[in-house]
């Protein structure tokens, strides 16, 4: 009876002890520097080695509420371990993306490493594995020698930063923000991170993206990507951010002004995307109608302000695909103040007509 009581007590206390141990290990993981795969893997192995009994504690630690600016690294560590126990196949894919294997990519029609598909085709829930890979184990990859290895590294890095945005996983917000701000990274990587931040960060990301667009100290490529990314935030605040900047002569008239203006116009088209608002469902329909109307109006105004960018604006109008915008461009093609404006508007009529015919 005495022994039985002790066994029961041990059984009762075991999960608590495991949770305590996991908590300590996760605290240590949160302190592991970016790229410190040795430290992280040592911690990970201990946690994953506990098997299914670790899952309750990992679920608690990886709960959505814990993915805060301060807590996301710890939450990510927890979720990555959980996923490694629950879905070892996904973990294996993230650890060894097939598109990075020279034997496989040499069979591609274009024989270069490409692994976006490997990550994008995984379930959305596996994003923490990609964040883990990016933060700690990317450099552990056994890249090929020379130029091939450089291409593999570039493919892996950009794919890992692209996939969280593809999945629209809000847990990736702060990881993407950190990558976008990391000046040690190539601009192309920071661009991917910026776009993913827009896709994952929600309204909370707008201010950060605005600041990046406005920051003259940032590379122009990163500022451009931040402008596109604002368009990924499905909220009227994104419209305000883009509209105010397109109207800011200091910004669009200064150094790189044309590039920024074009990037902002691109962001307006993305924000007004008909398919994207459809995908957000009926609950967002009213907001979507309003935002799309504003975006189309702003794009037509840009035809007046920047007729030389008619091709870009034309494409964005086709993405917004608002029926009444066709009337607006037709009117502008007749009433435009200058010939350049009238021609710019006219060049949009046929493409927009074709686009709208696809929705009938």
């Amino acid at each position: 009876m005495k022994t039985l009581t002790l066994s029961a007590l041990i059984a009762l206390l075991a999960p608590l002890a495991a949770a305590q141990q996991i908590g300590t290990l996760l605290d240590e993981a949160a302190k592991a520097q970016t790229g410190d795969h040795a430290k992280w893997i040592a911690i990970r192995d201990q946690i994953v080695g506990m098997g299914e009994q670790a899952l309750p504690a990992l679920r608690d630690a990886g709960a959505e509420a814990n993915w805060t600016e301060q807590g996301w690294v710890r939450a990510m560590a927890a979720d990555a371990c959980r996923l490694r126990i629950e879905n070892s196949q996904a973990a294996a894919t993230v650890d060894n993306p097939p598109g990075l294997n020279p034997e496989r990519y040499s069979m591609f029609r274009k024989p270069v490493p490409m692994c976006n598909r490997d990550f994008n085709h995984l379930p959305k829930g596996t994003v923490p594995l990609m964040l883990e890979r990016y933060r700690w184990t990317m450099e552990k990859q056994d890249f090929s020698e020379g130029a091939a290895g450089q291409a593999e590294r570039e493919a892996l890095g950009t794919a890992l930063l692209h996939a969280p945005g593809h999945h629209g996983d809000a847990r990736a917000r702060f990881a993407m923000e950190a990558a976008m701000k990391d000046s040690t990274l190539p601009d192309t990587w920071r661009q991917e991170a910026a776009v993913s931040l827009g896709k994952t960060g929600g309204v909370g990301a707008v201010k950060t993206l605005e600041a990046t667009v406005d920051d003259v100290a940032q590379p122009i490529a990163v500022r451009e990507a931040a402008a596109w990314a604002i368009g990924r935030v499905s909220d009227p605040t994104a419209y305000t951010a883009l509209d105010s900047r397109l109207g800011n002569k200091e910004l669009t008239g200064g150094q790189h002004g044309d590039r920024l203006a074009r990037a902002l116009i691109n962001g307006v088209g993305i924000l007004g995307s008909r398919a994207a608002w459809q995908a957000r469902g009926a609950m967002s329909a009213a907001t979507g109608d309003s935002v799309r109307n504003d975006c189309a109006r702003l794009l037509v105004d840009q035809l007046k302000a920047r007729p030389a960018d008619a091709e870009l604006i034309r494409d964005q109008l086709s993405i917004v695909a608002l029926e009444r915008s066709l009337d607006w461009v037709k009117a502008l093609a007749i009433d435009g103040e200058t010939e350049a404006i009238r021609n710019a508007a006219q060049s949009c009529v046929d493409p927009l007509t074709l686009t709208l015919s696809r929705y009938k």
Binding site: K110, L122, T158, T188, E224, R262, A276, R314, D315, P351
Partner: protein, 601 residues
């Protein structure tokens, strides 16, 4: 004035033909009637007379038929010669690189005859001058009995021995040894001069020739041979389904199916990319015109290219090689298609992909073009050029066959249509299915390797993926407008088929579902067109795969009872699609040119 017609026909035995010419010369007579040229004396002509088959009927005659307007190139006159790239003696060398000619190769030479002259000036000379642009780009031969011996020019002038000219016709021949280029459109002017001892020209004659331009096949031409690389490894990438579909279609249509073993070429299955076949058409004495296959070898440097050379160099088949140095996949064969005949372009026009747009969804430049050497070569071609270019720089592979394909459409006024990928068509169909409660329907059923299998709801619930489809649609619409502007095609000539796109790396894109426009099009001699279409693997409704149904609903009405279509949706999922290509990318087709002349258009 009597006129003795003397004929040189190279469609028959060359040795016999040469004898015929020599015999005819011995008979004397014959002269140039129009143009005020003097008559011929019994011992030979008193004027310089250089003859060629200028009326392109396959017979060289010493009469007005070939003499009149022989100094011009137009729709009715001007001789044709061949860029001698085949290998009639099967020794692995292109024939223009060999001066020793076999009897069969002699058929590829275009005869040129300097007629027997009398009264040649003592101490004088006879020369054939080549226009500056053609110098070094042709070879001339002179027959000693029945054997052609290469002539060596000095500063663009060939010597014609007086001794020969004074005793009979001097029979020569010409071949091309250089492809067309921006500095040479294939035109050759040969000026035959007889000079006195002081070098003063006493008499001269001029003929015009043009090197036959390479003509790429359109998908409307009847195939004779389909090539495919076999992957029978048994793994995911094995392509037995495509081979089975090709076997069925080619057997029914009487087409040869060449199955290239994959193992020696490391299963490099992209045989479409290694080369692009076409023909050189030459005049003959009666129909059909002589057709010599060429294979334009692309700058690619991958395994299956080594099958093309030497595999596709043999009698009456050659390879045009060594194009460009820029390592871009836009220079591969999948990026060369032909818009079938339109407007005044009776043979169609080369269509390639490339451009200086942006990566889709960005304002980042993504400029990429086919190597300029290739583009310049298309533009130098009076039949296929100048090329039409449509935007593809945003695609990972960057080929025009990723979103367009021309097929016969006998039930239309034009006789063909351009099938064009439409991501929004595919998206809207999925959206409608989702809205009707079919969000749980499976897309890419059973394709669990590499995580492909998904659902309708998962696709249309992904907003950024939806935006991407719209952005790609805008880009494809731009490409369509570029084709329309260059060719005069209208929206009615385009049929949109459902193809979604996705990011594959570095901001570049490829088809998400198997790209159905990337099909194999085989219009058989039996009147049936066989289309081997990548199975789109869409979701099912009560009628089956919604994308297959849509494709059939649009394609079937293009055909007639007399000229029906036979569609085979074929599994290329892991064998090609997963590796960034589709069915067309994995095949190549040699086709028979229409029995028509290019030179009279």
């Amino acid at each position: 004035m009597s006129r003795q017609k003397r004929t040189f026909t190279w469609a028959v035995s060359v040795l016999g033909a040469i004898g015929l010419v020599l015999a005819a010369c011995g008979g004397g007579g014959g002269g140039k009637t129009p143009g005020g040229k003097p008559a011929t004396t019994a011992g030979g002509k008193t004027f310089a007379d250089l003859d060629v088959d200028s009326n392109r009927n396959g017979a060289l005659t010493d009469d007005a038929a070939d003499d009149d307007f022989e100094d011009q190139w137009n729709q009715t006159h001007g001789a044709v010669f061949y860029f001698n790239i085949d290998d009639d003696n099967s020794n692995g060398q292109t024939d223009h690189s060999e001066s020793a000619k076999t009897a069969k190769d002699i058929l590829d030479l275009t005869p040129v005859v300097a007629r027997h002259m009398s009264g040649l000036p003592a101490g004088g000379s006879a020369k054939i001058l080549v226009n500056a642009a053609a110098q070094g780009r042709i070879r001339m031969y002179m027959y000693q009995a029945a054997t052609p011996t290469q002539m060596s020019p000095t500063a663009g002038e060939y010597d014609i021995p007086f001794a020969m000219l004074g005793t009979g016709d001097v029979i020569m021949a010409i071949e091309g040894n250089t492809r067309l280029s921006p500095s040479w459109n294939g035109q050759v002017t040969l000026t035959f001069e007889v000079r006195d001892s002081g070098g003063t020209v006493q008499s001269s004659d001029v003929i015009q020739l043009r090197q036959a331009p390479p003509i790429f096949a359109t998908n409307l031409w009847t195939p004779t041979q389909v090539q495919v690389v076999v992957d029978n490894t048994g793994g995911l990438s094995n392509n037995s389904a495509l081979i089975a579909a090709l076997t069925t279609a080619t057997t029914a249509a009487g087409i040869t199916l060449v199955q290239v073993p994959g193992a020696p070429y490391n299963y490099d299955r992209w045989i479409q990319d290694s080369h692009e076949p076409g023909v050189h058409l030459l005049p003959t004495n009666g129909a059909p015109r002589r057709s010599i296959v060429f294979n334009y070898q692309c700058y690619r440097n991958r395994q299956i290219d080594t099958w093309v050379v030497p595999g596709l160099i043999d009698p009456d088949q050659g390879v045009l090689a060594d194009f460009g140095v820029v390592d871009t996949s836009l220079s591969y064969g999948g990026n060369i298609e032909v818009v079938p005949p339109h407007n005044s372009r009776a043979w169609g026009r080369a269509l390639i992909g490339g451009g200086n747009g942006n990566l889709v969804g960005t304002t980042t430049s993504a400029t990429d073009y086919m190597d300029n050497t290739n583009r310049q070569w298309f533009d130098a071609n009076p039949i296929m050029g100048p090329h039409v270019q449509a935007t593809t720089e945003w695609l990972a592979v960057g080929h025009i066959d990723e979103y367009t394909m021309f097929i016969p459409a006998p039930n239309t006024a034009r006789g063909y249509v351009c099938l064009i990928a439409s991501p929004m068509r595919a998206w809207n169909q999925l959206f409608a299915m989702d809205a009707a409660g079919g969000g749980g329907n499976v897309v890419f059923q059973g394709r669990t390797s590499f995580g492909w299998q998904t659902t309708v709801g998962a696709i249309v619930g992904n907003g950024p993926l939806g935006t991407l489809q719209q952005q790609v649609q805008a880009r494809i619409d731009q490409g369509r407008n570029e084709i329309k502007a260059a060719t005069g095609l209208t929206d009615a000539d385009f049929i949109e088929l459902p193809v979604l796109f996705e990011h594959v790396g570095g901001g570049y894109l490829a088809a998400y579902n198997p790209g159905v426009v990337n099909m194999v099009c085989l219009p058989g001699a039996n009147g049936t067109t066989y289309l081997i279409i990548p199975d789109p693997e869409g979701p099912n409704d009560a009628g089956g795969d919604i994308w297959q149904q849509d494709i059939l609903a649009q394609i079937n009405p293009l055909f007639t009872a007399g000229n029906p279509v036979d569609v085979a949706f074929t599994d290329v999922f892991y064998s090609y699609h997963d590796l960034l290509g589709e069915a067309h990318c994995g095949t190549n087709t040699i086709r028979t040119a229409p029995d028509d002349d290019w030179w009279d258009k």
